[in-house]
């Protein structure tokens, strides 16, 4: 575990050292396609793709040479007539899923994609349960208090017992 971390950190340090002095520019003028429609597609694709040697940067934002290579590659594929999906598939085949800033839904990303929805769902279930209980209580308040259930009775004596000492 710790050797993995240090290896990873080592990589990061090397990468940063490589990337830092090359303070070029994100998208450079010579990369831009003359076909405006293709260029727009290229830009929006670039925002979905990660510069793999950077920290959480898209290839659209990054100054790194690798990002430039990828930007040019995306534009080459688009000019060759690829659809957006084909470009992405091509890059994933070449560089792995790491290149996607929005991971594909699969078994190993299920928790990632479903986690927030699960929190919402569990919360909503809990709330509807609370609302149901409220309605029950409101009804029993009209018809006078219901007798304690055995479990409630036990809990009550437990609390009273606690207060006793």
């Amino acid at each position: 575990m710790s050797s993995r971390i240090s290896r990873w950190l080592g990589l990061v340090v090397v990468v940063l050292a490589l990337a830092a002095p090359l303070h070029a520019f994100a998208v450079q003028p010579d990369e831009i396609l003359t076909d405006a429609a293709l260029e727009t597609r290229a830009r929006s694709l670039s925002r979905e793709l990660r510069c793999m040697v950077c920290q959480n940067q898209t290839i659209d934002d990054s100054d790194a040479p690798l990002a430039r290579d990828l930007r040019i590659l995306v534009r080459e594929r688009l000019r060759a007539g690829d659809s957006d999906q084909q470009v992405i598939d091509f890059l994933v085949a070449r560089y792995g899923e790491f290149v996607l800033l929005k991971p594909r839904f699969s078994l190993h990303t299920a928790l990632l994609w479903l986690g927030p929805a699960a929190v919402l769902l569990i919360g909503a279930l809990g709330l509807s349960l609370a609302a149901y209980r409220y309605r029950l209580r409101a009804r029993s308040a009209v018809s006078g208090p219901a007798a304690l259930s055995p479990a409630e009775q036990a809990r009550l004596s437990e609390i009273l017992g606690q207060d006793g000492h």
Partner: protein
Amino acid sequence: MIAELGHYALVLALGLALVQACVPIIGARRNDPVLMAVAVPTAIAQLCFVAFAFAALIACYVRSDFSVLNVFENSHSAKPLIYKITGVWGNHEGSMLLWVLILSVYGALVALFGNNLPARLRANVLGVQALIAVAFDLFILMTSNPFLRIAQPPLEGRDLNPILQDPGLAIHPPLLYLGYVGLSISFSFAMAALIDGRIDAAWARWVRPWTLLAWMFLTLGIAMGSYWAYYTLGWGGWWFWDPVENASFMPWLAATALLHSALVMEKRDALKVWTILLAILAFSLSLIGTFLVRSGVLTSVHAFATDPMRGVFILAILVLFIGGGLALFALRAPLLKQGGLFAPVSREGALVLNNLFLVSACAAVFVGTLYPLALEAITGEKISVGAPFFNATFVPLFVPLLIAVPFGPLLAWKRGDLLGVAQRLVGAAGVAAIAIAVIFAMEGGGPILVPFAIGLALYVMAGAVTEIVERTGLMKVPFSTAVRRARGMPRSAWGAAIAHFGLGISLLGIIGETQWSVERIAELKPGQSISIRRYDLHFDGTTTRQGPNYRELAAHFTVRRHGELVGVMEPAKHSFPSRGTSTTETALLTRGFAQLYLSLGDPNPDGSVAVRLYYKPLVLLIWLGAVVMVIGGGLSLSDRRLRVGAPKPARARAALAPAE
């Protein structure tokens, strides 16, 4: 000598914190007023010693004492004085000392202004607060000591990372830490309530101002950091869903939820258990934020600590406080009995809905930030989670919340009338509908969602205005009566409306900037022009200058609109010989709420230079909205009720509670 004194003061502060962490809590258990009273002087003395240690470190920086390792690594004799001072918290060790300083400031504030707290509550709060201080003092002394000396002192320091030599970064970390650490007070109050096994509405009244204060600092800190990234990084973005940003955003979301649930608890004595849990979660997220940034588990623009040993120590702190907090919660929360009942459709119900969506949105950020790390640690598989993921998960969770925002304050407590509120919001919805129609007509094509998003922002703003109009009876009663009612309205009601209005303003800025921003990228030679929207920028040429500790290459642009001179822009590149790095200095020209944004690439040998030019409409609203939110928070904080602390009836009730 100063460094050693600072080091020694920190050790003494640790000793005091140890005393404060044990004696008052024991005193509270035994009901011994003498032992409980120990907490107050120790908290104040602790602040004095930590402040001394911090001042000592500042003195080392100001005097450029390079025999101190930390100063050598992060300072330079030629650095301007202001950055010598701010460099203290521009690095890991110094920023941790700042963390502890702020922690002790909050502790001392509770000690000084907590006279109206029940003695046992105060003793327990200060005890828990000191426990946090012990952990962080130990962390600094054992793994991150800023006072270490070098045997052979070098003549010159290595300088602070140039990207941090910026006024924005001088105040961003202290603001953020004031927010992070402020949540420790809510946590300590929650722990104290659990230790005591007792909690009432008055508790919420004491906790809310502290949470509000922390939330205000957090809001300002995040906005500040976002603006800094916007003008420093040079590619026009202002939020990157970077893990370091998420680290501050998660506590903000949790603190926002906590503010709202504490309101329910204060007014209606309900949601006690949930509020306690949120207080624990909010501070846990602050700790996780500190861990993410400080352990080097992510290395990004902001994070500079890369020492696994520290990571393990912070991990231990996390396990101790989050695990301990949740364990105590599991043990004691069942003892806290639920209070007031409310119908699902009511102000309480709306606030619960607010909490549900805020917590789910927070979960989206949490999972997106930590899942890649966890997956890599467990399976070795590497995935990336970036802006496209967060846009796809966070946004759908936040939109229902925004639709619900204007409903909340208009609903009655206990049992509300949804239809009646909807009728009162017809005006706000009308404003939104008109805006949607106008934008749709103006834009013609374009993404269909844009008019609706703008409509949503305007609806949130109009909803906040509706609340004020409804409460004052404006339009229905004579104007003078409305003014009198407006004066009589509690400041917290004004604060809530203004904060919600600010939320709408930020939203408007965010949508306007993301959807209508225009970009030009070009290579220009002196004498050439570039135009964007109705502006023409003429490139006059470049000059080089010598700054205090850098060389500057500045490009001059004259900006004209329809041939009329509106200003000059001078984007620049600063190169710092001490570190061999350079920074991009963006030029900004503000026109109303819009900005022209110009940044410079490297100059070519033939004298031409690559430029990146943006026209960003409404962009300033993003941060202006945050400022308005903070003003709302401040108004609420100045409410008499919170200033006075617990009101008489609650105190009387507390006194009547059976003695254990």
